[in-house]
């Protein structure tokens, strides 16, 4: 979420509540004979208020589960989550009297600090990373589909290279889709052959002998470059060497520019296609990395929040009962 002018009401509201709470705390702290204490009436009031807000914060995930709920938009709930979360930090500090305590209380304070820090960190990431993904990975796809897309890119690259080299001798298993080198086939009732049969026939024809005529040496060179350098980069987890070879758009461009100088003109269309495939693979890697950053902080924020909620309940019971 991008914090902008549309948050101004929340900002002002929470600032007002914060100021009010601060004033109350100062008044209470100055008058308390032994200083502020979590067990005092004021301390407990701050505790209940803070815990109430924390409880509300945890309802965000439940709200997301029912998108059609009339209880406000998810966007509104997220804004409340952000600003009331910051307010709850203040209230908890007031409850604790700015002391970190011992034992469970200390653990809770640390947890809360980490949760708040991770939330703020996430907010900062959400401001900048979406735009970076859009700029750096225009060929992005759905994150869950990245492995499948990579596989399809690899199959497409194999197919393109085989136009020059014939059979590469690699086998990816059962193809998820049927490729025929760009041709489309339809059901032919007269011949009663399905598209799959025709595509397989085309594939066998391609593997049998080169469809684009180049001299043998050039074909061998392309095959070697492809199998040793390009194809490893099209794996789901490319090797370090392959990643370094194609680490930015300039590197991809330079590599294929070099290939175009050593390969005959007849193969340049294939090289252009391979360059586009490698560039897309590179962008998918960038997308995956930025996506992990954009969502990784949630693996800290959410579990710790759940733990914090449970431990807060324990702390409340223990504190009030004993």
């Amino acid at each position: 979420m991008i914090v902008d002018r549309s948050h101004s009401r929340w900002m002002l509201g929470c600032a007002a509540l914060g100021l009010g709470s601060t004033a109350a705390y100062v008044f209470y702290a100055l008058r308390a004979p032994n200083g502020p204490s979590g067990g005092s009436p004021a301390g407990l009031a701050f505790a209940f208020a803070g815990a109430g807000l924390i409880g509300f914060e945890c309802l965000l995930s439940l709200r997301k589960k029912y998108p059609a709920s009339p209880l406000g938009r998810v966007q509104t709930w997220l804004r409340a989550h952000i600003w009331l979360g910051l307010l709850s930090l203040l209230l908890i500090l007031f409850h604790a009297g700015f002391r970190w305590g011992q034992g469970l209380a200390l653990l809770l304070m640390w947890l809360f600090a980490v949760i708040t820090a991770s939330g703020v960190f996430g907010l900062v990431l959400q401001r900048y990373l979406p735009r970076r993904i859009t700029e750096l990975a225009p060929r992005e796809t759905l994150y869950d589909q990245i492995p499948q897309v990579i596989r399809l890119l690899r199959m497409e690259a194999d197919e393109r290279v085989e136009f020059v080299t014939a059979d590469l001798g690699v086998d990816d298993g059962e193809p998820a889709a049927l490729y025929a080198g760009g041709k489309k086939f339809y059901f032919d009732a007269a011949q009663r052959k399905s598209a799959a049969e025709k595509v397989e026939a085309e594939r066998q024809k391609r593997k049998a002998s080169p469809q684009i005529a180049v001299d043998e040496e050039a074909g061998r060179a392309l095959k070697a470059h492809y199998l040793q350098e390009i194809r490893p980069f099209l794996a789901l987890r490319p090797s370090g060497f392959a990643r370094r070879l194609f680490h930015n758009p300039g590197a991809v461009s330079a590599y294929f520019q070099y290939l175009r100088t050593i390969m005959p003109v007849a193969s340049h269309d294939v090289l252009r296609d391979l360059e586009a495939i490698c560039e897309e693979r590179r962008q998918l890697a960038v997308q995956a990395r930025l996506h992990r950053w954009l969502h990784g902080w949630l693996y800290v924020h959410v579990p710790l929040s759940m733990a914090f909620l449970v431990l807060t309940a324990v702390h409340a019971v223990l504190s009030l009962r004993y």
Binding site: I2, P130, H291, L294
Partner: protein, 758 residues
């Protein structure tokens, strides 16, 4: 390739010789020489009990005629389960409210039967029926294939249901050329098919029309005997927008395109299939208005007119009276008027002293058609059609492929309306709702040329889901919300698609101006609601036609688990499409986005800045609002604005349009509507190239006149029209228009209204 499939194919079975075919009693009257022209095009097949003859969803190009035995015809896909009748618990109600679940709709479903490619429709709650000897099935698929023969890649029509032999069944399987060239041309055979349809399916179709749902058997019998079955060829127009509507249509077979012409272009409202209907307006009784004008300004009176008597005179009194107080040449009660069919009867009363002049003849009793006028005393009386009740077609309907319709004429219906006032009320309500929808659509459609926008794919749609990639965190909450919204758990939204600037146009229904997805549904399960949202009903058989026809890939075929709990659930293919969350206040994908990245927009307004190719300098001062009669001195008026005016450059078309003046229609087609002027000029005429085309106005020339924006003035120029252009009653060749000026172009009368101030 397609030609070979249609005209010659190995059908299997036993080919029949012309002698054998001529000997079949059902084909009596068809000469064997005719059979001889199509060798191998018809074959006899025998099926054992339980054997499947054809399956739903399979492509097919042949029709079947049941010679002997019987077959079962059914839809294998599960339909919506019957809802529990128990009232929900209070706690359930509360939790349902918190979850935002829509309330279950009570009452009868909109459809009670599933239309299929046979002589009978299947009941929705138990989709199975039996066909007996002498019945035909699969004819729609066969005729559709005939239409495809010219195409390189034919789109074959899927079977709409599964047919299984009940006992031993003997069928004739035939190619479409036999059906079209032989059987349909045999009067006796055609009549037999028609009688079968009347007996088995027509009543169901009639009852599916909401206005007819409560009709008695007697009335339905009356309609059934009087209904005509009429055929239309592919592309043939069935009725045109604006024509007098005098009949009502039910679709027995084929697809009908329903479209409306707007100033900005044509919009296809729907593709209707078997058992759908159109033309309820044709059953409305005629309703008129009478407008009286005196010789002096301000002497005008108007009144509605129906079949009841309306008394007109200088001091006529009562509810059904039109008083003309200014005309001393009229008696107190001078004449009466009443609607008779599509005309109005005028009759001078005995108390009316002076004669009434009609078509320059003094007459005591005569019939007046809408648009005509007569003179009584010193007052002109004009008969107009009531814009809210007039029986005029609001859309053009044309046949997409071979169409057969059931036609019911208004005169057959009119006599029964008095006995069934609830039917009258239902039809009037339909007309009112159609008129309201009309006005809503008119205001939604942009007035700039739709053709310009259609060049860009985005503009074909009226409602796009955009994802702002600068805000989207790729959390997929929108897709999850979509999946959670629909009972089948399948998301209609895919966060992939075309990119436009910083936006991603997500794969989601665009509510296109021309919904191609509706064209080939064999069971009529994909339809458009009044709000133009596309919905796919439960009885979809998953044939994939809609998915193949959607040019944007926004319809997907997914395997859904079915079963009603008593049988093992099996995955069945079904089409799924975004329906804009019609049951909810807003689309849930938008509601679920925590970052405000998902928005629904109307593309022509939202992308107006990119589309605007021109700029307009407008004066900041408010244009002087004067009457058409009183005009300040032109020279002084022209000097003053130049000193006081500031100029603003307007690039955004959405900001520009409201600033331009408009024309409010006072009489003519669609009175009360507003015509938006364009920049830099707007032309009027009957020709297709005119910006505003009035093809039916015989008094308008092909290019009659234009209004041009020059130096911040709007100038009307007559383009050498035959009947001239009038401004405030005076014929002009060129004139600056001012707010309040009344312009007459042919039969169109409009008022020039100022635009908004910037």
């Amino acid at each position: 390739m397609a030609k070979d499939v249609i005209l010659a194919a190995d059908l299997g079975g036993t080919p029949l010789a012309p002698d054998e075919l001529a000997a079949i009693p059902d084909f009596a009257g068809i000469k064997k020489e005719i059979w001889g022209k199509f060798p191998g095009a018809i074959a006899r097949k025998t099926f054992r009990p339980g054997e499947i003859i054809l399956r739903e969803g399979e492509s097919g190009t042949t029709a079947f005629y049941l010679l002997s035995g019987s077959v079962e015809i059914f839809v294998n896909n599960p339909v919506a389960r019957v809802e529990s009748r128990r009232r929900p618990h209070r706690l359930t109600k509360i939790t349902n409210y918190i979850k935002g679940l829509p309330e279950r709709q009570q009452g009868r479903p909109a459809r009670t039967h599933i239309p299929i490619d046979a002589a009978v429709d299947l009941p929705l709650d138990n989709p199975i029926a039996t066909l007996e000897a002498g019945e035909l099935f699969g004819e729609m698929a066969a005729l559709a294939a005939l239409k495809q023969e010219k195409l390189k890649r034919p789109k074959f029509y899927p079977r709409s249901a599964t047919v299984r032999a009940k006992g031993e069944a003997v069928v004739l399987e035939m190619l479409p050329n036999i059906l079209n060239n032989v059987l349909y041309n045999a009067a006796a055979f055609k009549e037999k098919l028609n009688q079968g349809y009347r007996r088995r399916a027509l009543e169901t179709h009639l009852r599916s029309v909401p206005a007819f749902a409560g009709l008695s058997r007697e009335f339905l019998e009356h309609l059934r005997e009087r209904a005509e079955l009429v055929d239309f060829q592919p592309g043939q127009t069935i009725c045109r927008q604006g024509e007098v509507a005098d009949c009502f249509y039910l679709i027995r077979m084929g697809f009908v395109k329903v479209s409306q012409e707007f100033p900005g272009g044509e919009m296809v409202l729907a593709y209707l299939s078997r058992s759908s209907y159109f033309g309820e307006m044709g059953l409305l009784p005629s309703a008129f208005r009478v407008r009286a004008r005196g010789t002096a300004a301000g002497q005008i009176a108007e009144c509605a007119l129906s079949r009841e008597q309306l008394i007109c005179g200088r001091s006529a009194e009562g509810e059904r009276a039109l008083a003309i107080p200014w005309d001393e040449y009229l008696s107190r009660e001078h004449f009466e008027m009443r609607a008779e069919g599509r005309q109005v009867r005028v009759r001078r009363l005995p108390s009316g002293r002076n004669p009434i002049s009609f078509r320059q003849q003094p007459l005591d009793s005569f019939l007046v058609s809408p648009g005509e006028s007569f003179l009584a005393g010193g007052t002109t009386f004009e008969v107009l059609e009531d814009p809210f009740q007039a029986g005029r077609r609001t859309a053009t309907c044309s046949a997409v492929d071979y169409v057969q319709l059931v036609r019911i004429k208004a005169e057959d219906f009119a006599g029964m309306l008095d006995r069934f006032p609830e039917v009258n009320a239902a039809i009037t309500e339909v007309a009112r709702a159609r008129r309201q929808m009309d006005n809503q659509l008119l205001s939604r459609v942009q007035t700039l040329s739709v053709n310009d926008f259609l060049k860009q794919e985005l503009m074909q749609g009226q409602n796009l889901l955009l994802l702002d990639l600068g805000k989207c965190t790729r959390c997929d909450e929108c897709s999850k919300a979509c999946a959670a919204t629909h009972q089948d758990g399948v998301t209609r939204l895919i966060r992939e698609g075309l990119r436009f600037d910083k936006y991603l146009v997500a794969t989601s229904c665009r509510a296109c101006m021309d919904p191609l997805c509706m064209m080939r549904c064999p069971v009529g399960s994909i339809r458009r609601k009044e709000s133009l949202d596309i919905v796919i009903e439960d009885w979809c058989i998953g044939c994939g036609n809609c998915a193949a026809d959607c040019p944007y890939g926004n319809i997907n075929i997914v395997n859904l688990l079915g079963g009603d709990g008593r049988q093992k659930a099996e995955p069945r293919p079904k089409a799924v499409v975004c329906d804009l969350c019609v049951e909810y206040p807003e689309p849930n994908c938008v509601r679920a986005c925590a970052h405000g990245a998902a928005i629904r927009v109307e593309p022509t307004k939202y992308f107006a800045q990119e589309l605007a190719g021109f700029q307009l300098a407008v004066p900041a001062a408010k244009p002087a609002a004067g009457s058409s009669v009183d005009r300040p001195a032109a020279a002084e008026e022209q000097k003053a604005p130049e000193k006081a005016a500031e100029t603003r450059i307007i690039s955004n078309i959405a900001d520009l349009l409201p600033l331009l003046p408009r024309l409010k229609v006072r009489s003519g087609p669609r009175p009360g509507s507003v015509l938006q002027l364009r920049y830099p000029s707007t032309s009027f005429g009957r020709a297709p190239e005119a910006d505003y085309r009035f093809a039916d106005d015989e008094k308008m020339s092909r290019l009659h006149c234009q209004i041009v924006c020059e130096n911040n003035r709007f100038v009307l120029r007559d383009l050498n029209s035959t009947n001239g252009t009038l401004v405030n009653g005076n014929q002009v060749s060129e004139m600056d228009l001012r707010p309040g000026d009344v312009v007459v172009i042919g039969q169109l009368e409009v008022e020039f209204v100022a635009g908004q101030t910037p």
